[in-house]
Symmetry: D2
Subunit: 361 residues, 4 copies
């Protein structure tokens, strides 16, 4: 199968690097263009990138000459992890030139005509890109902490309704990029503040869990209150979550809908899809970031300690890999989903049509 | 002023060691007896104690021969940090022999005739020791996480009433004693479970904030839901707290009653009393354990980010030193309070009578 | 190919667990018996083991009933990671019953008739087990820190001779087993002492680099001085090494013999053999434990910063995975080597004979 | 006693902040001018400084308006912790205007007419500032790692002579300033490289231990080989040291000369002088950075595990507080020493003259 050429916007950053690691040997996509700041442009990638991954730079990638964000690109699909300080106009410019931008950046997430896609939950929202003013398209994934929260809420919201959510996060340092958090600030410490994060969790979740009506997204109206903290953990955002249901459900019923949760990526057996989007633990002291975050290659949301809450109804702890399912892996799964639905042109495995037909989505 | 002889039950443990550090040069009390497990009994303290403090063992203490929990003791006051596996019967036995036990152990906290004293909040509860079946007495302080929560809630509860509290803790490793948490379990990790801790926070707080009626404590009836986590921090329990008030109050009103909060220890100027029980931060990223936990010698509860909560009413982050105000310092402040109120016999500064009279407590 | 049944002595410990992870799907060996302390005996493995690996207990293993160290065993090969407090007599007893013990324990390493095998260096030393008093045999691998030091020294020693070695270690917490080092002792700290470790490095290395003469090992006589430290790193022992050569060599010559170093496991393409026993880094700040320790599945010794030393001749930094190549992986590679040389009975791949013949070892 | 006005060059950096903490309530000096980069100039200190100390900014200091490195200053004494990228010319310019620069920066340390002063070792070297081309003067202190090494070597060097030194450092993150080392690089990791550090240790030590002959410093000629590593420790540089003596000495003799070591600051009872420059530990696992680094207010060098070395003669582990005795505290002690010797004009305690006379230095 011929692979679809893909460009990486923000290729030298930590999420950019994760894109390259995850796309090495990808069955559908091949990285052919790397885009970074003007400072890096014109030089071989290996020379300008402070590579921080535990595997070496893929050889072919190392020699690619980095392009600047002002250059024309050939790749129809652009995965973006541009810094939010520049992502807005750059992504728009490429979308106007006909590229399909699949972005991990914040900039366009809350645009009315841009969906925040978690394909297990709301791949139907992809519909609205048809109304975008771009000749190409912009599709985003959720903020990392929002990703795991939305994933945990989705099956419960569908089955029982949710009125309110209290969430406290314990977020890993890799979520802040590189150089990111100074060691003097976080070694043996907790920082009870992450700029903009609480607001993202409180707003993005509403859009993700919203419904598509007359080609626009009607947001959910859950009361959400977030408190975000940075902890000295390398990878893995943990969250304690309490929620108030609309209709009564027992702890076991909640566990059951979470355990049974599956979505389009699982049915299509997309290459980056975890077998289960939610994995439930029975142990009283799990999940733990250092021990569990790589389960299912970092693509599942891990859930533990589902139990009654004496203030709201149900409480639990959740965990996800912030730079995989919370960033690079999320965007790649979005690309795979778009390919399967014909929103990206290119060859795709036959079984996909059958699945899509049988679902009638 | 002659000092009151004090014995330490559980003298080799980490809280026991903190007692010794804090009582070195104490104006009212002098440590004269050390009690530990039979294994240590009969030997000089320095020989049996795995001393983990940053100052050396006080010289006089180092040479004291450790007594066993079965020996008779001379000291009228016994500060106890016995392991909860043995504290129950040992503390009772000494109370029956006429000693005044001021305990940091869990065992008797929820006994109907034993108060959990935080003197800024409920020194009046000391009244109930008169009804104890012991010739001596048993008085306890709160569990460490409960301490900071109760302290933060107290002025708000008094002024506005509180219906419900959601709290997530991020607790330091020193809270688990020594050897405590294995480094393999916590380095770069979070453990989302601490045995018994959530239940302690949910029940002890009710008793502490309760009222004394007809010589018994009528518990408060706040809905409290706790989620407790261990994080790789040395000292300092941080807690994110959300609460639902009984009567409306603005964020600024809540801040004001917290800022103004003072109690008996402050008025009496007790040696271990912090100038302010609650210290409010204005910075958006404080308090932080590694940076702030030693403020006011570890005796204040630090409060930051007081703001509106979209699910309940008000949310904030709090922090306290778990082995100081959350353990050894709390018990010592209780001893000072009891002395000032005549519940421990001994010489005391004159100004205390005047303060007590003028308060009419 | 039918697999050779293997028993694990000390199966519940951290190295025991690593054995099980590494032997899952091993081409030559299949774990059939698990042996642990009497406390665990008679119960299914999953019930008695505090499993600390990042992958779940292999299902078949989870159900195996643990045997006690006093029971008779059927497996001809026993991999041992018994605690050194019990390993001595238990390993002897099984060796007397005809089992081949391949041990990671200290107890018998310095016995005159027991070799310490690092097959890239001294597989010829296996010869001496023929003179053992056991009907079976005991073969050991090196202490973890010694492993990486010996591996780095071996090609230099062979080519240029070595007179003296200064080594300072920075050792990971996983080297101390579980529960091992209390977090209160090591979080944000360094402990400049590891019991017995310096002496092991100074003596075992002599035996490993020794020569086989008249069926006994004549130890090398290098002056070795070690200083061992524990640092807050999860996996990976780092060592700064300075050495005095017998005959002059340039930095580049030393790098070259290290880079070219290969041994029997590489030629035989043994399943656990790394492609290269030594991997040299060119970057000035590598290798680093958190970043590099899993290179070649944790089976290589990583070398960086080879440069001149103004006191001795050459200095460098080395790093290895202490629980893989420094423990479980080392023993398994020894087992594979023994199988290839006919010292363990069982089926083996054909190409091995050819290699062995051509080497004439 | 009227205090001598002091300016701080590089006041917003981490060492600059430590100057301010240590000089708060200093008996001889009062901070009156703060100098920083042009970006900060003209604004109140509290507004431009990312204050990272555990005590708040002294109130008077908070309001001081920061000056730029190009402004004229009134304070006769300037303590400098300017970044080495700018320190060179700035310090020279102020020295040319008559100021006495007491610098923690690298820039001028190896100038032939600038001494590196550790007053316990070589206060006599201050003599050479008389030959400086400046109307004022420049005096430096050692690099942090060099400081503790030189202090440990000095009494041994004097008494027995030293031929060679092997040293491996384990250095704290606070040594790299702020933001300094990214947490992603050091959490649970070791970095075996610190730019320029090894060379500083190998050269500065020679100058510090050198002798003053005909008004110039004749360097010592010890062979020194350093290997420098960054470890995840907050404060405290630890070093494993091995040394070859010129004349034989037993371990106990070496311990004795270290234990007895005292210098001018101790005799003068200078305010920042530790009672003992070297503190010896008897415990086999001490000193440890997290536990011991604040001993004697961070001004002593701590020594443990002095024992025989089988390659050189003696080995040991040493530890010091890198931002106190290794930086800010060192410069302040130099200022106190210069005042006592009349090299800074100002009032000084009477007992100093007597001590100086009696020493005949």
């Amino acid at each position: 199968m011929e692979k679809i050429p893909v460009g990486i916007l923000g290729a030298t950053g930590t999420v950019g690097q994760k894109f390259l690691v995850l796309l090495e040997n990808h069955p559908f996509f091949a990285v052919t263009e790397l885009v970074a700041s003007p400072r890096s442009a014109g030089k071989p990638y290996a020379q300008v990138c402070a590579w921080k991954q535990s595997t070496p730079i893929p050889e072919r990638i190392a020699r690619l000459v980095v392009k600047s964000t002002e250059e024309k690109l050939r790749s129809p699909v652009l995965l973006s992890s541009l810094d939010s300080s520049v992502a807005g106009p750059v992504e728009e410019a490429y979308a106007n030139r006909g590229h399909c931008i699949i972005s991990n950046s914040t900039s366009h997430r809350m645009d009315a005509d841009v969906p925040i896609i978690i394909p297990e939950i709301n791949h139907q929202h992809l519909e609205i890109i048809k109304s975008q003013r771009y000749s190409g398209a912009i599709v985003t994934n959720a903020n990392c902490s929002t990703m795991f929260l939305s994933m945990a809420l989705a099956p419960i919201y569908r089955e029982f309704g949710i009125e309110a959510v209290q969430v406290t996060t314990l977020q890993a340092i890799s979520g802040a990029g590189y150089p990111g958090v100074p060691s003097l600030d976080i070694l043996g410490n907790v920082i009870p503040f992450i700029g903009g994060e609480e607001q993202k969790m409180e707003t993005e979740t509403q859009k993700i869990l919203g419904t598509l009506e007359a080609n626009r997204i009607v947001e959910a109206s859950i009361k959400i209150s977030a408190q975000c903290n940075r902890v000295p953990v390398y990878d893995g955002h943990m969250e304690t979550v309490s929620l108030k249901l609309k209709s009564r459900a027992s702890v076991e019923e909640v566990r059951q809908v979470m355990r049974d949760f599956k979505g389009l990526p699982q049915e299509l057996r997309l290459p980056s899809a975890p077998e289960r989007p939610l994995v439930l633990f029975d142990e009283e002291d799990r999940p733990q970031p250092a021990r569990d975050v790589w389960l299912n290659r970092g693509m599942s949301t891990l859930v533990g300690r589902v139990r009654e809450c004496s203030v709201l109804d149900i409480k639990m702890v959740i965990l996800g890999h912030n730079t995989i399912r919370g960033a690079a892996g999320a965007a790649i799964l979005n690309a795979e989903t778009m390919l399967s639905k014909g929103l990206i042109e290119g060859p795709k495995p036959e079984h996909m049509e059958l699945v899509l037909e049988s679902r009638g989505d």
